[in-house]
Symmetry: C2
Subunit: 212 residues, 2 copies
C-alpha cells in the first residue's frame, strides 16, 4: 500500500529533489472535481485525503496520499487527459512539489525506474479503491468502523476524529456512526469524548474488524 520513492535511481531522485517545495495548511482544498491536472505531485510531508462526494453531500475517503507518495489522480490526468473526480484536502500541514507536465513526460520516456514508480503507485491506488468498494458493498458499518478505529488509533489508543470525519472515512452517515459508536461503547470496546474516541479493548475491536 505504501508507495515510497525507494527504488528510484540517483539521477531521477536528484531531478525530483531539485524541485521547489510548496507548503499548505491543514484544511486547504488542493483540487476539486473537474480541475485539470497541473503536473505530477509528490508529497514530502503530511497527508492529503482524496474524497469522493455524492450529490446528497455525503462523502467518502477514496485514499490518502502520504510522504513519498504521489497523487495518481494527477497522473491520471496527465496521461489520459481526464479531470479529477475527487476532492483533495490537506489533512495535516503539508509540503509538496510539482513536476511540470513536460518534465514528467520526459522522465516517463527516459527513466525506467520512474516508470516503475508511477506504475506501482497506480497499482496501489487501484487496489485501494477496489478494496474500499468491497468494504462499502459487502461489509457492515460496525465492522468498517472497527477497522478504521484500529487503523487510526495512536499508541495510546486514541482517535482524534469527529463522528462526521469517521462517517466520511467509511462512507456512511454521521447519525449512523454516532449510534454504532454508542453500541461499541456499551460493549466496553471504546470510550467516547467530544472529537475523540479511545480504543478500550483493542483485541475485541480487532476481532470485530476482521469479521466474525
Amino acid at each position: 500500500m505504501d508507495v515510497a520513492t525507494d527504488g528510484l535511481d540517483a539521477a531521477t531522485k536528484a531531478s525530483l529533489e531539485r524541485l521547489a517545495v510548496s507548503r499548505a495548511d491543514a484544511g486547504t482544498v488542493l483540487f476539486r472535481p473537474g480541475d485539470d491536472a497541473a503536473g505530477f505531485v509528490l508529497v514530502h510531508e503530511g497527508r492529503i485525503g482524496v474524497y469522493l462526494t455524492g450529490r446528497s453531500g455525503r462523502d467518502i475517503l477514496l485514499y490518502s496520499v502520504e510522504r513519498g507518495q504521489t497523487c495518481i489522480q494527477t497522473t491520471l490526468g496527465l496521461l489520459g487527459g481526464e479531470a479529477y473526480t475527487g476532492e483533495g484536502i490537506a489533512e495535516t500541514p503539508i509540503a509538496f512539489s510539482v513536476l511540470p507536465r513536460g518534465d514528467f513526460m520526459a522522465l516517463m520516456e527516459n527513466s525506467a525506474p520512474f516508470r516503475a514508480f508511477v506504475f506501482r503507485s497506480f497499482a496501489g491506488r487501484l487496489n485501494d479503491v477496489t478494496r474500499l468498494l468491497e468494504q462499502v458493498a459487502f461489509v457492515r458499518v460496525e465492522q468498517r468502523l472497527a477497522r478504521v478505529l484500529i487503523e487510526r488509533a495512536g499508541e495510546d489508543g486514541t482517535v482524534h476524529l469527529t463522528h462526521q470525519a469517521l462517517a466520511s472515512a467509511i462512507g456512511s452517515a454521521r447519525e449512523v456512526v454516532s449510534r454504532r459508536l454508542e453500541a461499541l461503547r456499551s460493549r466496553g470496546l471504546v470510550e467516547l469524548d467530544r472529537g475523540l474516541i479511545r480504543v478500550a479493548d483493542r483485541p475485541g475491536l480487532r476481532h470485530l474488524a476482521e469479521g466474525e
Copy 2:
C-alpha cells in the same frame, strides 16, 4: 471508457498479432481471486466480466473487458506482483491471446506507444472502479438499475439478463432487484418475462437513470 489498441505503432501491433489465439466458451472462469497473473491478456472477441465477491456470496461487476482491451488485473499482477482480487468470467464466447511476462516487460521497456496503451487501460479502469464506488455508495438502487437497463438494452429494447445477473451488475440482492423491477413495471417503464426485460419507455427510464 473503451480502451482500444488504436494508437499502437505498427511494430508493436505486429508483435501482438503474432501471438497464438486461444478461445473459451461463455461461462468459463478465467481467473479467481488469489491466482497469479500468467501474462498480459488481450481480448480479441467477446466480453469478459470481472466480478468482486463478498463473503456473503453477493457479488458485483467491477468492469467488463471487451474487444481490443486488456485485463488490467493481470497487468497489475505483472507489474506489482499483486494477485487477482476479482473473478474473471467469459460472458460470451471469447477469443484472446496471452503475451508472456518477459515479452510484456520488453515491450514496456522499448515501446512508448505500448506503455501509453497500458497506462490508458489503467486510467480507464481506475475511473470505472471509482465511478462504480460512487454509484454504490451514493445512488439509489432504482436509479442504478435504470442505468444498467439503458446500457444493456439492445436496439429492440430487450435486456437478456436474469434478476440475479442484474443484481450482480449493480451490487445489490436479487430480491431487491425483483421488487424494483416490479415497481418499474407498474409505472409502465419496463415489461417483464423470464430471463428478459423489455424497456417499454426508454425516455422515462433514461430520465430516472440521470437522477431526478
